[in-house]
């Protein structure tokens, strides 16, 4: 997209996404909130997209401007995990910045999502976080090492999950009762045993 056309209004953005993504777009909503005495508005777009069209949607956003990915938030909703990628477009134009929130639902039996680090290199931190906190498998992620959790933290437990892979039994009153989870064996001990 030509930079002369920026900034795009909320209606133009909506039209653009509908035209670019066609049937891949499950739903699109726009929202404006008034701020301050001068009644200027904060603009948001909420989009829901199928996993197969997810990369196309990110590419469509990246054609507007170098995309700014604030963060991807995620939560366990029972049978599926919902990821929301919060992108910002129209930055650098006073009062025109629009939040584009891209929702993707991943079923529990197939928790995979393609990486977007080739389109948005800055997404690496948040993709690594989703892997360890929600147990999502980000396909083709350039760096899949654990980032935030301790190396002794069990591999099959995920702090933000509400099912049996969550950490409810590990967290309550940590200092008051004996913890019930099995202590993980560290990798280093395994290797020594293999060597013997």
């Amino acid at each position: 997209m030509n930079s002369d056309e920026l900034p795009l209004s909320l209606e133009e953005l909506e039209e653009y996404f509908v035209a670019e993504l066609e049937d891949g777009l499950e739903s699109i909503e726009t929202e404006e909130i008034e701020k301050g005495l001068s009644k200027k508005t904060m603009k948001l777009i909420w989009m829901k997209i199928d996993r197969d069209n997810f990369r196309d949607a990110v590419k469509a956003i990246s054609e507007i401007q170098v995309p700014h990915l604030s963060v991807a938030s995620g939560s366990d909703k029972g049978d599926f995990i919902e990821l929301i990628y919060h992108f910002m477009v129209n930055y650098g134009y006073p009062e025109e910045e629009t939040a584009v929130n891209l929702k993707v639902e991943l079923p529990k039996y197939d928790l995979t999502i393609p990486t977007i680090t080739d389109i948005v290199p800055g997404a690496i931190t948040t993709e690594r976080e989703k892997q360890e906190f929600l147990g999502i498998d980000v396909k083709d992620i350039p760096d899949d090492r654990r980032m935030w959790l301790d190396e002794n933290y069990p591999d099959d437990r995920y702090p933000w999950r509400w099912d049996k892979t969550g950490m409810e039994d590990m967290s309550r009153h940590v200092h008051e009762k004996e913890q019930t989870f099995e202590e993980p064996v560290s990798e280093r001990v395994d290797k020594e045993e293999d060597g013997d």
Binding site: K40, H68, S73, H86, Y91, P94, E95, G122, Y153, H175
Partner: protein, 417 residues
């Protein structure tokens, strides 16, 4: 240590978690060829406290004090983002007077944070006299924050729909006095950090972040504004009272410097933002509207409303360190916060470390590490499992208490207390 094809030896040097640059636990693994850095790999997570997890087990009211404890320096920031995210989710509109009070508090915190950073930066390059000078002048703004809110840190000012304490007219002289104090001292501060030849020598052309990299890696705040990137939530997507105020992007080029993206550019941005904050607070005091300080006076009704509320919201602002955001979702069948995601500024700036360190010298590691104004407490957020990795022993609360009593007795050498 490994041998490259051309007989160059690469050393791997881990720096941290107890760090010469930062007082917070954080590790960066460096690959070095002689004195030159060829790779930098940050390893965060030493300060993980599970704040998001704790928040998802509390009702929305209880999360306000928890949110501000995410970070000591930018506690207002997290409080504001959390409350605005919930306000967005359940359609609570804060009063206009509250918006102005919030803005004054946030700008005071920006002065506090930037003055503190200047001290840290001086310390990293071995200029401890300047560190003591800046930290001495920082006391003044902390005193003002205490006079307004009652606390020097963790101010507990925010509530849904507004604030808990008013800024009354009898506080104006104190605010003016503090702003005058910083306005008078500003020239000296600028003379030290931008004029001193030895500081210039240590910061000019060091730790360069190009504009292209800054955009690609989604960097935020003064870190990218030093590279000439126009990103400032206060202007782009104004919140609180910022839509009514006059402000512009602080880029080094506006003040006759180049937008190189080195440590010096970032210093220029932070110092000039102190002046901008003084101006913004003056504007707020002048334009402050009359009225209530909160739109949700009845706490019991608010509590009941939040219990049954459902919706999702985003709270976003320009923290002293750059853009930050919270995402909150409430659902009807869950009294607690259903989903809470904190994203602090350092989280996004973490990726900008690698290009900044590349090709620099070992001696410049501390100042480059400090130049994004890292805040590990904000970024990490959780430590859940209490394991002693050496002995694989878990201590109960009683055992820990016994150990601490034992330790005290040892120190006192049998003196009866």
């Amino acid at each position: 240590m490994s041998m490259a094809d051309d007989d160059k030896v690469t050393y791997e040097v881990p720096i941290g978690p107890i760090h010469p640059a930062l007082k917070e636990p954080f590790m960066i693994k460096f690959k070095l060829e002689g004195e030159e850095i060829v790779d930098a790999d940050p390893h965060p997570g030493m300060n993980h406290r599970g704040i998001e997890f704790m928040g998802m087990h509390r009702n929305p009211m209880k999360v306000i004090p928890l949110a501000e404890r995410t970070c000591g320096i930018c506690s207002i920031v997290h409080q504001h983002m959390y409350t605005t995210a919930v306000e967005h989710a359940v359609d609570i509109v804060p009063t206009q007077r509250a918006r102005y009070i919030r803005t004054i508090m946030m700008e005071l915190e920006r002065i506090h944070s930037h003055v503190l950073w200047a001290g840290v930066a001086a310390h990293e390059i071995g200029f401890d006299t300047h560190m003591h000078f800046t930290w001495k002048i920082r006391e003044k703004v902390m005193d003002l924050l205490e006079a307004i809110s009652g606390n020097r840190v963790n101010y507990s000012m925010w509530t849904f729909g507004g604030v808990r304490r008013d800024i009354t007219e009898d506080m104006y002289p104190k605010i003016e006095e503090t702003l005058d104090y910083y306005a008078e001292l500003y020239d000296k501060l600028e003379d030290i950090f931008l004029g001193d030849p030895s500081i210039r020598h240590r910061t000019k052309d060091i730790g360069i972040l190009t504009k292209k990299k800054a955009l690609e890696l989604c960097g935020v705040g003064p870190t990218v504004r030093g590279s000439g990137v126009k990103k400032d939530v206060r202007i782009d997507q104004p919140y609180a009272a910022y839509p009514d105020l006059e402000l512009d992007y602080v880029l080094p080029s506006r003040y006759g410097y180049e937008n190189i993206g080195d440590v010096f550019s970032k210093t220029v941005v932070r110092l000039k933002e102190i002046l901008q904050s003084i101006d913004l607070i003056e504007q707020c005091v002048e334009k402050m509207p009359e009225g209530e300080i909160t739109s949700e006076g009845n706490k019991a009704a608010l509590f009941n409303k939040l219990k049954r509320a459902s919706g999702e919201g985003i709270g976003r602002l320009e923290a002293p360190r750059g853009e930050a955001m919270h995402y909150v979702r409430l659902t009807e069948d869950n009294e607690d916060v259903d989903c809470w995601k904190i994203r602090a500024s350092t989280y996004n700036n973490l990726a900008t470390y690698a290009p900044m360190f590349m090709g620099e010298q070992i001696a410049d590691i501390p100042i480059i590490a400090a130049c994004i104004d890292p805040c590990i407490g904000c970024m990490d957020r959780a430590e859940i499992v209490n394991l002693d990795t050496g002995e694989k022993k878990k201590y109960s609360k009683d055992e820990l208490h016994e150990l601490s009593v034992q330790k005290t007795e040892d120190i006192l050498g049998g003196i009866d207390i």
